[in-house]
Amino acid sequence: MNYQDEKPIFLQLAEQLEEGILSGAYPEESRVPSITEYSVNLKINPATALKGINLLVDGGLLYKKRGLGMFVATGAREKLKNRRKNQFYRDYVEKLIREAKNLGLDAAELETLIERGFEDVD
């Protein structure tokens, strides 16, 4: 874990798990590592690992199979993508539009700029 990170460890773990689901490292209906595995690997108290995992359980991304462990829920990847899209809209698009309006750019001009960006950026 990154100790310089401002975020508490359980949040870092939750984000790491979300990345794993998004990237397909943890496919839907597959088992994710157990609390003990996380605890041993990251050298953290199991209660901290549980707290991180429970965030995803509460969000409907993981579910528990009795005696078998934690599994990725069907539709979890889609759910995460939508959540990220909404976040992207709030964090980037809204800011972009506000700044564009400040500069007096209209939607068509902005569209041209975005197309140029798609060309320029790898």
Binding site: M1, Y3, E6, P8, I9, S34, I35, T36, S39, V40, N41, L42, K43, I44, N45, P46, A47, T48
Partner: protein
């Protein structure tokens, strides 16, 4: 089910090592016992494992008083600096002896660990280096099956790789067979993420006894230009502070409020919190 320590006092004649300590060690949690040299950590641990007697007060384990009570004392295992076996004994014979004293001792597992750490079973205990003598004691601790497992400065003399192995093995043991673990250590940064509940001792008294998260979440570091920081600290409780050039940073107790412009807030680690608390106490 717990270890209850009530009004425990240990008087060495010229010094009070413990001063009416009252503490509960609950079931299946990892405790960190933190304190500077001479705070009373080792004395407390020796008393609750029956190696020393208190001057006053009592200790009960799962409701039974420990004085001359082998069945209660059989529930705790202390890994400490002293070797409890005859010096001429070989490691393998020490494992045999441990199996007699602790019926739940897992010999196969102990041998597996010895192999993993590179500890030879044929060696005599007195010929082990400081590091391997520590490893030998840790292996015994990890292999006994007791509900209360206590480590007094477990990683002294161990190199970085072996310390890392120990922490992981301890978490593995704890995950598979939950028990109460007490880790008394100076190396707070290394053990901080393992600790669920922190007990801070100072001059034989308990200064803090709460979930470690409560300590670190209720303190933060503020830094920025000295003048701004000083103004911010007015009416707030600064545990410690230091100045570097025109910049000042301080560890503040309490919840973070709104961050004023020009100042930076950051998280404190358990070690930062501990050091700040000790500095504050030094001033008293």
């Amino acid at each position: 089910m717990s270890i209850e320590i009530t009004d425990l006092t240990k008087d060495y004649g010229d010094a009070l090592a413990l001063d009416s300590v009252t503490l509960t060690l609950g079931r299946d949690k990892i405790y960190g016992l933190l304190g500077n040299n001479g705070a009373g950590k080792s004395t407390l641990l020796s008393i609750l494992t029956g190696r020393q007697y208190p001057s006053a007060g009592k200790v009960t384990i799962d409701g039974e008083e420990i004085t001359n009570n082998d069945s209660a004392l059989g529930k705790v295992y202390l890994v400490a600096e002293q070797n409890m076996f005859p010096e001429d004994m070989k490691v393998s014979s020490a494992f045999d002896a441990a199996a007699i004293f602790y019926p739940g001792f897992d010999r196969t597992y102990a041998e597996k660990l010895a192999n993993k750490f590179g500890l030879s079973l044929k060696k005599k205990i007195k010929t082990l280096s400081t590091g391997y003598a520590s490893i030998f004691r840790l292996i015994l601790g990890l292999s006994v099956d007791v509900p209360y497992l206590i480590f007094d400065e477990p990683v002294l003399g161990l190199d970085a790789q072996h310390r890392d192995m120990f922490y992981r093995l301890l978490l593995e043991r704890y995950g598979e067979k939950p028990c109460t673990v007490v880790i008394s250590t100076h190396l707070i940064a290394e053990a901080a993420d393992l600790i669920e509940h922190a007990v801070i001792l100072r001059d034989g008294r308990i200064l803090r006894d709460c979930p470690s998260e409560e300590l670190t979440m209720n303190a933060y570091t503020v830094s920025g230009p000295t003048e701004l920081v000083d103004r911010y600290l007015e009416g707030r409780h600064a545990l410690s502070s230091n100045i570097l050039g025109g910049l000042k940073s301080a560890c503040v107790a309490g919840e973070r409020g709104e961050k004023p412009d020009g100042l930076e807030f950051s998280r404190v680690s358990l070690q930062d919190y501990f050091i700040s608390l000790m500095e504050e106490e030094d001033k008293k």
